[in-house]
């Protein structure tokens, strides 16, 4: 972290204005809405909450969403690491272009991604027709959901890991080589360990994003209740039915899961990075 220059607060102007604007904005745009959800949740009795969350439709939607997100995150973890490594350590033609393209899913609107993916994997699509020959169906199944989640989360995985790879000291790998370690040993013991915190971050952000992804998923998902319905769609459906308590219950659960995951990752990282502390 950059050392922040110490400045006596009153020398530079703009603290009150800057802080005032920030607080106003954050309150109106972030705090109030979140508290709106909490307020709604507070009106739910525990019994109501359990009733909503234990309905088979909700449980199925959660299961579909979480398993697809987990699978997508796993794949993104592996390929994200690979991409980050290749982009940082190797020089090859078109590297700059590829590096820029990694951000495409982040810049592309989710609805656009959604229709693009479904048109690719639909039976009449370029990839879907090939898969169909093998009897494999991706569109309108759980697999389609997973693929859409992979698409939208690629940038999170790659961008979280890249800076950490840049920080690695190639001499440590050379040292391990002279000490007799083979390729696998060098990778696991000297390269992977220091990268773990950033991999966790990338994976965590990837999972949270996948869990909440809507636009890219609903076109390819099929959205059949009890089969291929994702949690965020169910929230929308309950909303349209004016069943705000149910919508809030599901939304609150998703939000809680995200928060727990991010906090857990943060804690794990702090532990992993204790070797960075310079005092005993």
């Amino acid at each position: 972290m950059t050392a922040i220059p110490r400045s006596t607060p009153r020398v530079l102007p703009g603290l009150s204005l800057g802080l005032g604007i920030s607080i106003l904005f954050v309150t109106l745009i972030v705090l109030l809405p979140i508290s709106g959800l909490l307020w709604q949740l507070a009106q739910l009795t525990p019994a109501d909450y359990v009733r909503v969350m234990s309905s088979e439709r909700v449980l199925t939607a959660l299961r579909v969403t979480l398993t697809a997100a987990a699978a997508a995150t796993l794949i993104n973890g592996v390929f994200g690491l690979m991409l980050a490594w290749v982009l940082t350590r190797y020089r090859f033609a078109g590297r700059g272009l590829i590096d820029a393209l990694v951000d495409l899913p982040f810049a592309l609107p989710t609805a656009v991604a959604g229709i693009a993916l479904v048109s690719l994997y639909d039976r009449s699509g370029w990839l879907g027709s090939i898969l169909d020959k093998f009897g494999l169906q991706v569109a309108y199944t759980w697999w389609g959901i997973m693929i859409a989640m992979i698409f939208t989360s690629i940038p999170f995985a790659v961008r979280a890991i890249q800076p950490a790879i840049e920080e690695l000291d190639p001499d440590e790998e050379a040292a391990a080589l002279t000490l007799g370690a083979n390729g696998v040993q060098r990778f696991l013991r000297v390269v992977l360990r220091p990268l773990m915190p950033s991999i966790l971050t990338g994976v965590g952000l990837s999972f949270v994003r996948s869990m909440g992804e809507f636009g890219a998923v609903i076109f390819i998902a099929g959205n059949l209740p009890y089969k291929t319905e994702i949690a965020s769609l169910l929230i929308l459906i309950r909303l349209d039915e004016f069943d705000y308590p149910a919508a809030a219950a599901i939304a609150g659960t998703l939000l809680l899961l995200s928060v727990i995951l991010l906090v857990a990752i943060n804690l794990a990282q702090t532990r992993m990075q204790r070797y960075l502390r310079t005092e005993g």
Partner: protein, 242 residues
């Protein structure tokens, strides 16, 4: 066991860095490669270690041709200029690393590894710092750990790339003695790259003076001082405040 480098040539792109370098040393001997930057001494060391490859020439160790042998199999200890300690491992884990990555068959038991690690920690007088991380050590301490780590694998040859350059004068003095000590105790031959004449004089049995990709003179320090073979050597070895 003797080590020989024969007629080593190395170019980087259009620049020829080593122009036919030959060197031979006896078992247990301490050799210094002394020269200004750009003389090719670090390149030569890297080639000996297997971290770089010569365009032409041969490397022989105890009669065995190791020119094409991968670095991981040469069994030479290497001390890097910036030590390259594994940041995320403790001192003890750093030292034990070379032993823990040995193939199953030749790997010692965990207790044997622990014992050897302790032995080395005592040798470098850092037994109470075994669980520290490199970020928590001083420069001199890191240097000693780097030495111990290289010695742990009982190397056939010890290679050191400017091992003291990152340290201040006082620390350098005391470390010189302990490095020489460790090397003698281990009975292993050593090749050290340095640009510091006083260091080379203090530590080496023989000094190879390098300039622009050649070894211009290779002899005992006293001989270099009394019989320099060229003006370059004479100016280089002129006694100055160490």
């Amino acid at each position: 066991m003797t080590f020989q480098a024969l007629d080593i040539h190395k170019s980087f792109g259009d620049t020829e860095v080593l122009k036919g370098v030959s060197l031979s040393m006896d078992e247990g001997e301490f050799v210094a490669l002394l020269g200004p930057s750009g003389s090719g001494k670090t390149t030569l060391l890297n080639i000996i270690a297997g971290l770089a490859h010569a365009d032409r020439g041969q490397l022989l160790f105890a009669g065995e041709d190791i020119t094409r042998l991968p670095a991981g199999q040469r069994h030479f200890g290497f001390v890097f200029q910036n030590y390259a300690l594994f940041r995320h491992m403790t001192v003890a884990q750093n030292i034990a690393f070379g032993l823990r990555v040995l193939p199953r068959k030749s790997r010692p038991s965990r207790s044997a590894i622990a014992a050897r690690t302790r032995e080395l920690l005592e040798m470098i007088e850092m037994a109470d710092l075994a669980d520290r991380f490199p970020a928590q050590l001083s420069g001199g301490q890191r240097q000693r750990v780097a030495m111990a780590r290289a010695l742990a694998i009982e190397p056939r040859l010890l290679l050191m790339d400017e091992p003291f350059s990152a340290l201040d004068a006082q620390v350098r003095q005391s470390l010189r003695e302990s490095v020489r000590d460790l090397q003698r105790k281990a009975g292993v031959g050593a090749i050290m790259v340095t640009h510091d004449r006083a260091e080379a004089w203090a530590l080496a049995d023989r000094v190879a003076v390098m300039n622009e990709g050649h070894i211009v003179q290779f002899d005992r320090p006293e001989v270099l001082s009394s019989n320099p073979s060229s003006d370059f050597v004479r100016l280089l070895v002129r006694a100055d405040a160490a």
